[in-house]
Subunit: 266 residues, 4 copies
Amino acid sequence: MLKGFTAPRSPWGIAALVPSPPWHFAGDVLAVEFWNDPDVSVHLLPAGVELDERCRGRSVALFTDYQFTAQNDEHLDPARYQCRGFSVLLDALWRGSRIAWCPYCYVDNDAALMRGWIQGYPRKFGTVHLSRAFVASSTASAPLVHDGRFSACMSAHGRLLVQARITLRERAERLAGFLDRRIVGRRYFPRLSAGMHDKPAVDELVRSVPHHPLVTDIWTGEADLHFPEAYGEELEMLGPLKVGRGYRFSFSYSVTDIEVLADLTA
Amino acid sequence: MLKGFTAPRSPWGIAALVPSPPWHFAGDVLAVEFWNDPDVSVHLLPAGVELDERCRGRSVALFTDYQFTAQNDEHLDPARYQCRGFSVLLDALWRGSRIAWCPYCYVDNDAALMRGWIQGYPRKFGTVHLSRAFVASSTASAPLVHDGRFSACMSAHGRLLVQARITLRERAERLAGFLDRRIVGRRYFPRLSAGMHDKPAVDELVRSVPHHPLVTDIWTGEADLHFPEAYGEELEMLGPLKVGRGYRFSFSYSVTDIEVLADLTA
Amino acid sequence: MLKGFTAPRSPWGIAALVPSPPWHFAGDVLAVEFWNDPDVSVHLLPAGVELDERCRGRSVALFTDYQFTAQNDEHLDPARYQCRGFSVLLDALWRGSRIAWCPYCYVDNDAALMRGWIQGYPRKFGTVHLSRAFVASSTASAPLVHDGRFSACMSAHGRLLVQARITLRERAERLAGFLDRRIVGRRYFPRLSAGMHDKPAVDELVRSVPHHPLVTDIWTGEADLHFPEAYGEELEMLGPLKVGRGYRFSFSYSVTDIEVLADLTA
Amino acid sequence: MLKGFTAPRSPWGIAALVPSPPWHFAGDVLAVEFWNDPDVSVHLLPAGVELDERCRGRSVALFTDYQFTAQNDEHLDPARYQCRGFSVLLDALWRGSRIAWCPYCYVDNDAALMRGWIQGYPRKFGTVHLSRAFVASSTASAPLVHDGRFSACMSAHGRLLVQARITLRERAERLAGFLDRRIVGRRYFPRLSAGMHDKPAVDELVRSVPHHPLVTDIWTGEADLHFPEAYGEELEMLGPLKVGRGYRFSFSYSVTDIEVLADLTA
């Protein structure tokens, strides 16, 4: 019997690119609130998803630096399961309920790439760097203090796609009104059979179901954000019209489930 | 309207990880024929695929170094579309017809990783190196001559998974009885909804349909092959009992189609 | 006038691979005390350096994960100046004074590679991973607690060279008797002129001069350590005869100086 | 006795980052002739080197894709010794003799980085990609034919630094008047001792001494060339005022020597 949550399925189930859920994540985040041009970003939405009229064009640029584990101490194999990623999230609505739509997502690890496709995040490879906050005092630490400065950037195939700077101003108890929407993505797996290239085998709108979400050590401040133009990408079309608050926090959550909102193949 | 053969689907269809077929490939190959233990490799086969009794345990270790293009001059974006890969192919049968079953496959590029999953190849990330045959005469070239020596290796996440050496002995007109089977793989895309983790959304046996396959500049010779043991992999279970001929050749082919042999979700 | 502490020297001095000192470092460490065979490691010492007879064969395997800055906010360019490294340090003596001799050193960044050569550390490229201790509670965090588990590994060119595991047992106030020696290395820069290949232009024994060294958040525990054999390396000759304590701590220090102990070209 | 042409010097001399000369190189090149602003590029020259007044501002952008070996079959260890690089060369004079001055140089391999510093090339890490010319006919090959198109690019730390396109027009027997100057670079190794940061231990102007240089399969054509602006680099100051011919050829040569033109520490 072949085993494994994903290919390659194998006799022991060890070789699978992605281990079986539940999946657990813990890490640090740099995030920047921004506004894009809603006349542009409206064209990034699939059928059934609308911009949130109360905050048209409001979006989040999210840089994550995290460790992953499933049931077999994967976090003790850091070469395989540490990960850094970048996502864009747009304030949107699904049948009247507030959601965050994820049009673009990048990650630096193959297991995370495929995990993303299974969760409905349209991941491609990107190299992501975030300033680290080290404990020992030094000019080289980026301490969590008033006026502490942090940077983040993401490149794909040698082209810089996004760059952010945050200057911390104050500690916060919670992410009031920020990142408080469940993420909606699209599970999409095409067919290759002749004549079927535009009839995907899987095309579902799905909503994330985070378990035990935890956010801590929250700081907010001022931010800069840029999406340099790059051949072969469309991220720059979301180039900020306005940049809002920047955030730095730590997080953890688990995933064992996803909610299918709609089957778009029907 | 969102466009793109795969996610991320976008307004212009430029951002998609994999461009629409037809896909064209041209490159160089190092390949080694070997025999594994059929009592082991039989456990790598999905329902409906059997070992080929006429050549039980006969397999190929295949290293490829190639350029890809679709319809938009992708080959002129080498940072994104050059690629190196490694595959294992087992001599097998599908309803009596000779096929090559692909249990493991590695590639060094995100577009190729996803293209593989769409084609039924169970790709993970691997870093692949092959000796290059350069035209200008030098101790550093690996010329295509009698006694010419070539190496190939593949590592994933910093662990060496396979290593091969070939010493060329003679030029050949064709790959007689070698790599003459169409490849069968498994398109597999899991569900994440609770209770459905073992009920994949897509689970199909598929057979490759190469268009315009071309093989040229063929050399054969002697070979060594090793699969070092590595945590988190099962490749070493195919560790050669016997190693046969080594091959070095150049190839091209195109892909626009795939043949679905069976729907295993039924 | 061309400017820059190192090549490439340029009109503005921005292009130099390594910025001018002072250099500041802040990061996290996983370290394992071990004993090698002193009859082997004695052959790793340059003239003038002896094994420390009071602790023959005692050594440290040191994994570092750190941020660097000089005078121009380099730490806000994380893609260029974050760094992970691995070093071996042998308990030794220089004219009777206790030192740590550094025979091998690896790092994952070009600026750090060259900075190392300037400091006398014989750096090569290596890909280093360490378990990260994240603040938010999760199975995926590696918390600094009793029984907390950490891993570290280093690979070069796709071959695993060292692997370590530490299980934390107790918090400590200081690194009593551990990493308390100044590091001695060898600045070595060869000549390429014909007939001079064995007459280096620079060959100096140098002792590190750390400024403002700070060590904090110290935990100690049990450890495992392995040096797998790898083609093109000699690290495995130091393969542990015995493994001692493991350590996890945070650190910072600065560098503006080095002490030249001996000019070996004389 | 410790052995090795460079650090780390070790009992067997296997661990050294760079093996002893002679060094042999074989590979492919894409090169573009261009003119920079001589009022800018004159500030890139060290004392004693002048712009060539007969061709002020004439330069070459050189992309190389090659295999290296020394005396121990290094070319059969492709993971360690294959290499891609990018250099800029300026037409210049040294005491009246025609030379090519190398102000900037990038390479994707640690051994090549250090070999470059020893040869006087101011190398930093860069990721380089060149279109490959594969033998098997395909839309994906980049054949050496009239109207054949080739691309090359180089990025460092996720930022695109140079991009080139060449369309082949005709085969040539020789590189008439192109790349016919010996390269002059600067061996530069700083001191770290306090007060000596601007008194390098090594500061020599050196001229390359290629042995058995061979150039073959030469094609010339039209070219485009861009140096995008990038933080932390000064390459864009050489941004082409005019672009000349593009070249594609194969090459090999060996190195065992270097000519020291001047000791700038004196």
